[in-house]
């Protein structure tokens, strides 16, 4: 187990290094650079800027300097916000994205398992049909539509009652978090519901369930210990990447609900060709994703003793 963990961690480091290098190369191959601006009306001003950011050096040297700083945990200074360090941007904004993401994942996982089990128990009857219809809606309607509609719904709700029941946008209190996290988790919840349903259906009449029933175990025990526990494994598998995807993919929800998360920096940096922020956020998110996948693999062993990690 220990050896396996170490091996996975080393693989993870190599993956992150690969992500960093690939991003570096891709970023420098697109036309333009973060210093392009309409107000640079002479060469001196441009040369001053290049010298300040070290862009006047050969690309390979820039790469070595960047990698050296990165291994020391220093992502450099943003190009668009010239007095903010990328480390500060991540430190200030990732907790917001993470809070939103964790809430969304909890909501998605609980909802998904619950609805999934329910549809399996009611297979092909009305609750199953209704829920699966909603699930298909949840999977196919993109989050910017759901976000926009739910925000519009909030304004109508507040107008109806004449007072502000739930805030339309913004961040900071419990009330601000509810709707955005529900919207963010909706897609994943729908996906997990389907997954849970099919995996529950496989198990619901499995041999070991029949055996358990025939030896007179109470139905509660059968459901919790034999059915749910076995059916939940595929859900755990996708949960790791889902956490990473939700935490990093909140850009649209953050935009609509004016939430100061890291997502907008991730997207805007690419539009602005802000080299240091692109590198910082990509490497950070990449490392986060790799870490989550490793974590899920390790958690397997605890949930299903049949999975012995070698």
């Amino acid at each position: 187990m220990f050896r396996y963990t170490v091996k996975r961690l080393i693989q993870g480091v190599i993956t992150v290094w690969f992500i960093a290098t690939a991003t570096f190369i891709a970023m420098h191959s697109v036309p333009g650079d973060p210093l392009s601006g309409e107000r640079l009306t002479n060469e001196e001003i441009r040369a001053n800027l290049e010298a300040r950011y070290g862009l006047d050096r050969p690309l390979f040297e820039q790469y070595l300097i960047y990698m050296g700083n990165m291994t020391r945990g220093d992502f450099g200074i943003s190009f668009t916000q010239q007095n903010r360090r990328v480390n500060d941007i991540i430190r200030e904004h990732f907790p917001v994205s993470a809070t939103l993401g964790i809430l969304a994942v909890v909501f998605a996982a609980l909802g998904g398992i619950l609805w999934g089990a329910l549809t399996a128990l009611f297979r092909n009857r009305l609750p199953d049909v209704v829920i699966m219809f909603l699930v298909i809606l949840g999977i196919s309607v993109p989050s910017f539509v759901v976000a926009g509609l739910s925000q519009l719904g909030l304004t109508s709700l507040n107008a109806l009652f004449g007072v502000s029941i739930l805030p339309v946008a913004g961040w900071g209190t419990l009330l601000h978090m509810i709707v955005p996290s529900l919207v963010l988790g909706l897609g994943t919840m729908a996906f997990l519901t389907r997954l849970m349903r099919s995996s529950m259906l496989e198990i619901i009449n499995a041999d070991f369930v029949r055996t358990a029933r025939s030896k007179g175990l109470p139905p509660t025990r059968i459901f919790l210990k034999h059915q749910l526990r076995n059916a939940i494994l595929p859900v755990i598998t996708v949960l790791g990447p889902a956490i990473a995807a939700i935490t990093t993919g909140g850009f649209v929800v953050e935009l609509v609900f004016a939430i100061p998360g890291l997502g907008r920096y991730f997207v805007q940096a690419v539009q602005q060709l802000d080299y240091t922020v692109i590198m910082g956020t990509t490497v950070f998110y990449g490392a986060f994703l790799v870490f989550m996948v490793i974590l899920v693999d390790l958690v397997y062993g605890f949930i299903d003793p049949r999975v012995r990690l070698e």
Binding site: D33, E38, T41, I102, G172, M189, A258
Partner: protein
């Protein structure tokens, strides 16, 4: 909404579950229990997370769009201000914020006329200028604003180590360009504090519009001891700035919240009516801003697009408009290897261009006006508006004549068909729509094959600089209120002249406009530049941009400007309804 549904369903399900299978009945009870536990857990988790997030950000507490009692207005920003260091600032959001918290020697008043700021009076000569500062001007820590603060800020801006993009705006100062090139020390700058209240400036060359330059944001003062004490973090946070304007920043949570409160040390504080200007929402999403307005959370929504206009009209909110001062046109590539270097082809393009159709049928946003010149209609001339003194040459769309020019161009270029024309455009929805309109228009009228090259802003700029285009949709906004801010764009040495248009007569006229101090001579030069650009088809004007916005009727006296901080809430006031 989904949460409501889920709790509703699970509460009902044990009752409605008249199931035949005893197993599922028990299982349902289990699920109901699980659901209750999950809901409780979810709420607890939210509470914990909200407590944790308090450590990293301040909360958005809502007082509504306008609070009469406390004199507070609430607004939203489209983005976090990227740069509040006046020497490095380039974008409009930062410029708007800084315009409320800083004041230069001169400022623009609510009617967009120059008014005294920190300077009480001034004298501008051909070789230099003198400014006398008002004694009562104070920084937000109570210290007086002195001439040294301006000298320090300006030296910092031209210092090559600062690498300011706007360093060029100081090039009228003696030695500024040499300092910026690193050839002279920053102390050599032609600006000197004679005393605490007297500022002496030496020019490199005569400059007729210096009073207008002085109102520009890069000319704001910075106090040396404070700047140095921040150790490279000047303007990085609210506490890393010192203010001399009508407001000061009291809260700046990056990406989330900016709050301006009245600066009690401001010399003209009696003129300021608002106590707080709060920006607790930062989002680029126009619909989100509209929803906030609908919910009574913000007082102004700026820059309504054609889609949101319908919603706004349906709500019967009065729509206001103003011109943002920018002019949009085709940059044309005049390099020899490009077909557009041929005069007759350019003439053909000019003759089929119909700015009226573009503005009224394609863009369809009131406030946009058809473009006729590089010089926008709002520019001041010698006595009145420049465009009234020097009307732009009229070009009437004429497809038949355009086709004749096209045939001529084909003969001159020695081709049967004009090769595909590359049209470089931004990747914004608006630019895409315009590019597609032109693609269709030029195909139908001239049979030209237009290839649209959509790029994000910086890549579009890089491609334009490299000359990788034939036509480019391009806009230019003013830096100061003088025709020169547009007039020198197509001088052969200007780096924004991406098509490398070179015309000796135009260059000569630009020099006259730059160096003469006689307004009549200068305006005549701009008039000639305007003619050359149209006659020689150096560019093809498309439109002047307008901005639509809605504003809470209780909020009055908001300044809208083409030059300087926009919108300007500093002199606004609230009327009770």
């Amino acid at each position: 909404m989904a949460q409501d549904q889920s709790s509703g369903m699970t509460a009902d399900s044990p009752g409605t579950a008249a199931t035949r299978d005893p197993l599922s009945r028990v299982a349902l009870r289990q699920i109901a229990l699980l659901a209750i536990a999950a809901t409780v857990g979810f709420v607890l988790l939210m509470a914990a997370l909200s407590w944790a997030s308090d450590l990293t950000s301040s909360s958005t507490t809502s007082v509504g769009a306008i609070d009469v009692e406390t004199g507070t207005i609430t607004l939203s920003l489209t983005q976090e201000p990227p740069q509040l260091d006046s020497t490095r600032l380039t974008d409009s959001v930062s410029g708007m914020i800084l315009g409320h918290v800083m004041e230069g020697l001169l400022r623009y008043d609510i009617n967009n006329q120059l008014a005294p700021g920190v300077a009480e009076r001034w004298d501008i000569r051909t070789d230099g200028a003198t400014f006398w500062l008002r004694e009562e001007a104070r920084w937000s820590d109570g210290e007086p604003v002195t001439a040294h603060d301006f000298v320090f800020a300006w030296q910092t801006a031209v210092d090559p180590a600062t690498a300011s993009q706007y360093a060029f705006i100081f090039y009228v100062f003696k030695n500024a360009e040499a300092i910026n090139r690193g050839e002279l020390p920053r102390e050599a700058l032609g600006a000197r504090a004679v005393s605490d209240l007297e500022l002496e400036i030496e020019f490199e060359r005569p400059v007729a519009y210096f009073d207008k330059l002085v109102a520009f944001q890069t000319y704001y003062p910075i106090r040396e001891d404070f700047y140095l004490s921040r150790d490279g973090r000047y303007a990085a946070d609210a506490v890393d700035l010192l203010y001399n304007g009508p407001f000061e920043i009291t809260v700046w949570v990056h990406g989330a919240h900016v709050r301006l409160e009245k600066n009690e040390h401001y010399w003209n504080r009696d003129e300021i009516s608002l106590n707080v200007i709060d920006f607790p929402y930062i989002t680029a999403d126009g619909n989100a801003a509209l929803n906030l307005y609908r919910d009574g959370q913000i007082a102004v929504v700026n820059g309504l697009g054609a889609e949101s206009l319908d919603q706004v009209l349906a709500e019967r909110w009065p729509v206001r408009r103003y011109s943002d001062g920018s002019v949009w046109f085709f940059q044309i590539n005049h390099r020899e290897e490009h077909p557009t270097s041929n005069y007759n082809l350019r003439k053909a393009l000019q003759l089929v261009n119909d700015p009226g159709e573009l503005v009224y049928k394609v863009i369809q946003i009131p406030g946009y006006t058809p473009g006729e010149s590089l010089f926008p209609t709002w520019l001041n001339g010698q006595n009145g508006l420049f465009r009234q003194e020097y009307p732009a040459p009229t070009v009437t769309p004429n497809v038949a004549l355009a086709r004749e020019h096209l045939e001529q161009a084909k003969r001159e270029l020695g081709v049967d068909e004009i090769p595909p024309i590359v049209l470089l455009a931004d990747d914004t929805p608006g630019a895409s729509k315009q590019a597609e309109y032109y693609q269709n228009r030029l195909m139908q009228t001239l049979g030209l094959d237009i290839r649209i090259d959509k790029q994000i802003f910086r890549q579009r700029l890089a491609k334009a600089e490299a000359g990788e285009f034939d036509l480019a949709l391009y806009g230019w906004g003013p830096d100061f209120d003088d025709p020169l801010t547009f007039g020198d764009l197509f001088a052969s040495w200007n780096l924004n002249n991406h098509g490398e248009y070179a015309n000796a007569e135009l260059d000569a006229q630009v020099r006259i406009a730059q160096e003469s101090t006689d307004q009549a001579t200068r305006m005549a030069a701009f008039g000639r530049i305007q003619e050359i650009l149209i006659e020689d088809v150096a560019i093809i004007p498309n439109y002047e941009r307008g901005v639509l916005y809605i504003q809470d009727p209780r909020l009055r006296g908001v300044g809208r400007r083409v030059v300087g901080p926009d919108p300007d809430y500093s002199r606004a006031h609230i009327v009770a309804d």
